[in-house]
């Protein structure tokens, strides 16, 4: 039905030829824009509804005094369903440490929470299919588990700013929500997130549409194909400063892949964009000493690059 609408718009209304580059590009743009926005609205709504059952305060209780490994797995999984915005990273970090969540387990949460985010998920699903979205979630969770365990093993507690250990966390009973509240908040999040990302998504799809129509199909094989070993680290390097544009990046990535970028390189790029964000590092600087931030970024980069190579190797 969507395809029929896109065909009608581009070939009848605009009078473009289906065989022309411009026709293909416009058709792709209309189809993808409608599809992605419908999916975004639906999935953000459902995810927000689910998340209303897992406030950070409850997650903290579940994770407190959990042991290594079991704790890391739980933390990485809870990271998916606990609502988290990088602006709350500091109180979340302090809250976790205060209530006896081990440092490594806290990091598993801090890695998984932004990486497995609903916008990235929708876009991956919409443009690559559910299998790729599932691969992204499971590798994301694995990276969070491994990263957290490594940081836990390194015994870096002394690299947390000292004042954190002296703060006193209050106790509070937060009133339970009813279904009407949950629906209202979920709808509010949909509007909020769409307002924040719509422009990036449209620009991303437009660039994607242009490349779809104009660039030859094997355009990128030489630069970003499986055989270029530098592609993965380079993708990670480019991905780090792109955080705020995660939403717009995926439609472009879709086309990059179509034109020959290898799967593992695409995954590594996506993970770098979502998990290694500059603004979040700056916020975390309030509670972590610079050395710990450097170690964190180092471990994440190595793990993500490893995932990239692994997938390129397996899928070759």
């Amino acid at each position: 039905m969507l395809q029929a609408f896109a065909d009608y718009m581009s070939y009848h209304l605009f009078g473009l030829s289906p065989a022309s580059h411009l026709g293909a590009a416009v058709n792709f743009f209309i189809y993808d824009t409608i599809k992605i926005f419908l999916m975004l609205a639906l999935i953000i709504f459902l995810v927000s509804l689910l998340r209303s059952f897992f406030p950070a305060e409850r997650t903290k209780k579940i994770l407190s005094h959990k042991r290594e490994f079991v704790g890391n797995i739980l933390a990485a999984l809870l990271g998916i369903v606990t609502p988290f915005c990088s602006c709350s990273a500091v109180p979340v970090f302090i809250g976790f440490v205060e209530s006896g969540v081990p440092l490594g387990v806290t990091f598993s949460f801090l890695i998984s929470s932004p990486m497995v985010n609903e916008v990235a998920l929708v876009l991956l699903w919409g443009m690559f299919g559910w299998k790729i979205a599932a691969i992204y979630i499971s590798t994301g969770v694995s990276v969070a588990i491994v990263g957290g365990i490594v940081i836990g093993r390194l015994k870096l507690e002394h690299l947390v700013e000292d004042y954190v250990y002296n703060l006193k966390m209050g106790e509070t009973e937060i009133a339970a929500l009813n279904w009407k509240d949950r629906m209202n908040y979920a709808w509010g999040y949909v509007i909020d997130i769409l307002k924040k990302v719509w422009l990036y998504v449209i620009i991303g799809i437009a660039i994607g549409g242009l490349m779809h129509g104009y660039a030859p199909a094997d355009f990128l094989v030489k630069y970003a194909g499986r055989d270029n070993l530098f592609a993965v680290p380079l993708a990670v390097l480019i991905g780090v400063p792109l955080y705020s544009n995660a939403a717009g990046i995926i439609p472009i990535v879709n086309v990059l892949m179509e034109k020959g970028m290898a799967m593992g390189t695409v995954l590594a790029f996506m993970m770098a964009v979502t998990a290694l964000s500059l603004p979040e590092m700056i916020i975390l600087r309030k509670v972590l000493k610079p050395k710990l931030i450097a170690i964190f970024v180092g471990i994440m980069s190595v793990t993500i690059i490893f995932v990239g190579y692994l997938f390129n190797f397996m899928m070759g």
Binding site: P55, C87, S88, P91, K168, G170, T172, N184
Partner: protein, 81 residues
């Protein structure tokens, strides 16, 4: 009545403050609105997700911004009888 808005300067924190002030205007009541921006102050209420709303030292909302109508309801409920 004393209302505190907990949050260290994120965009939703500003939004919460705006909604609170609008709701106070709607009700035509006199309320102290205070902003708590330091982390120590925020977590002393046991709150981890910002913005949060505290009315008369009781945490009413965490990590959410309600709409104006809902905010009026919340304030009404907290009014001394």
């Amino acid at each position: 009545m004393n209302v505190k808005i907990l949050g260290s300067g994120c965009s939703s924190c500003a939004k919460l403050e705006k909604v609170v002030r609008e709701a106070i205007d709607d009700l035509g009541i006199v309320v102290d609105v205070e902003k708590v921006q330091d982390v120590a102050g925020i977590i002393s209420y046991g709150v981890m997700s910002t913005p949060a709303l505290v009315i008369d030292e009781q945490v009413k909302l965490v990590g959410k911004v309600p709409n104006r109508v809902r905010m009026v309801e919340i304030l009404k409920q907290a009014l001394p009888q």
